[in-house]
């Protein structure tokens, strides 16, 4: 039987997402140099994790296969991005 999450949890997550959005928007006005992208992506990943864990119920899963599926998806995306970039980044070495 599926677990029913309370509305309170959802509203809390929503509030967190809104705050994080304001935060990332505000931080973009600050000059962090090379770290701007790192901070922006960290906040985005935090927001994304909240959506995945709570709104998409991944935190409350009965079925572990779903987690495998999600990890596989992001892992394969990483293969695409990272292995392609190794070509471009190392071109200057030759």
């Amino acid at each position: 039987m599926e677990k029913i999450i309370s509305g309170k949890v959802y509203f809390t997550v929503w509030a967190a997402l809104m705050c994080l959005t304001v935060t990332t928007a505000a931080v973009s006005y600050v000059d962090l140099g090379q770290f701007s992208i790192v901070v922006a992506l960290l906040i985005a990943t935090l927001k994304g994790s909240l959506v995945v864990l709570f709104f998409m119920h991944v935190k409350y899963l009965n079925v572990k296969t779903t987690l495998l599926v999600i990890v596989a998806g992001f892992f394969w995306l990483a293969i695409l991005l990272l292995m392609t970039m190794t070509d471009y980044i190392t071109r200057a070495w030759s």
């Binding site: 599926e2 029913i4 999450i5 509305g7 959802y10 509203f11 997550v13 929503w14 997402l17 809104m18 959005t21 990332t24 928007a25 973009s28 006005y29 000059d31 701007s36 992208i37 922006a40 992506l41 906040i43 985005a44 927001k47 994304g48 959506v51 995945v52 709570f54 709104f55 998409m56 079925v63 296969t65 779903t66 599926v69 999600i70 596989a72 998806g73 992001f74 394969w76 995306l77 695409l80 991005l81 392609t84 970039m85 471009y88 980044i89």
Partner: protein
């Protein structure tokens, strides 16, 4: 749960499944597998973005300055709100509250339409400012060729995202209609959950698009 709710659930059991639990687990897994195909589909675009940002960072900064910061930020908030109402719709049907479910689904659609309208205004603005790639493109600042590439990525990524929002509107409308016909209950509502998963995914993509397109470098006002 009520007898009629369970009867509905039994009625919806497809013949090749052993029981409702197997059907539900299968349909949910199916939607998740579909979502990772979407990760890879958008992944190709993120790859292009990553490469050209690496190669033409200044142009990326320039281009980002010309984004409509306020529409982008408001749209981010709009999608987050729509995710909330979507998950509340699922909560409502889990409690057997059909009318509340319909209300939540309808509000989700309203948010989605708001997103599309704001996007349309944005696109129109860019068009008027000669920022649509192609022969009409004209950029007065530095490195116009690579800034044009930024706009190519902008339109391609937000364009495909908007297409998915549109499809999402269709899907949410469909389950809204089906709910109004009494097809769902506390014991059977897989389609609403699965549409919810899709919708949250669409929100997730935008959560990444927003900083990558709108928040590079420092901002001028507007």
């Amino acid at each position: 749960m009520s007898d009629s709710s369970q009867a509905l659930a039994t009625h919806e059991l497809r013949h090749h499944f052993e029981d409702m639990e197997q059907q539900r687990d299968a349909s949910s897994m199916g939607m998740w597998v579909f979502l990772i195909t979407e990760i890879m589909f958008f992944g190709g675009m993120f790859m292009a973005y990553l490469l050209y940002r690496y190669e033409y960072f200044q142009a990326w900064q320039e281009g980002s300055q010309h984004m409509n910061f306020w529409i982008g930020t408001i749209n981010t908030a709009v999608l987050i709100c729509s995710s909330l109402t979507m998950v509340l719709a699922v909560l409502a049907i889990q409690q057997g509250r059909r009318r509340l479910t319909s209300v939540m689904l309808a509000i989700t659609i309203c948010f989605a339409i708001t997103f599309m309208v704001l996007k349309g205004i944005e696109y129109h603005e860019h068009w008027l400012a000669h920022e649509f790639p192609g022969s009409a493109f004209h950029f007065a600042g530095i490195d116009p060729r690579h800034v044009e590439m930024f706009f190519v990525l902008y339109f391609v990524m937000t364009g495909f995202h908007a297409l998915h929002v549109l499809i999402g509107i269709g899907l949410v409308s469909t389950v809204l209609y089906m709910n109004s016909r009494g097809h769902y209950s506390a014991d059977y509502h897989n389609p609403i959950e699965n549409v919810g998963l899709y919708w949250h995914f669409v929100d997730l993509v935008w959560i990444y698009l927003y900083p990558l397109l709108y928040l590079i470098g420092h901002h001028h006002v507007g």
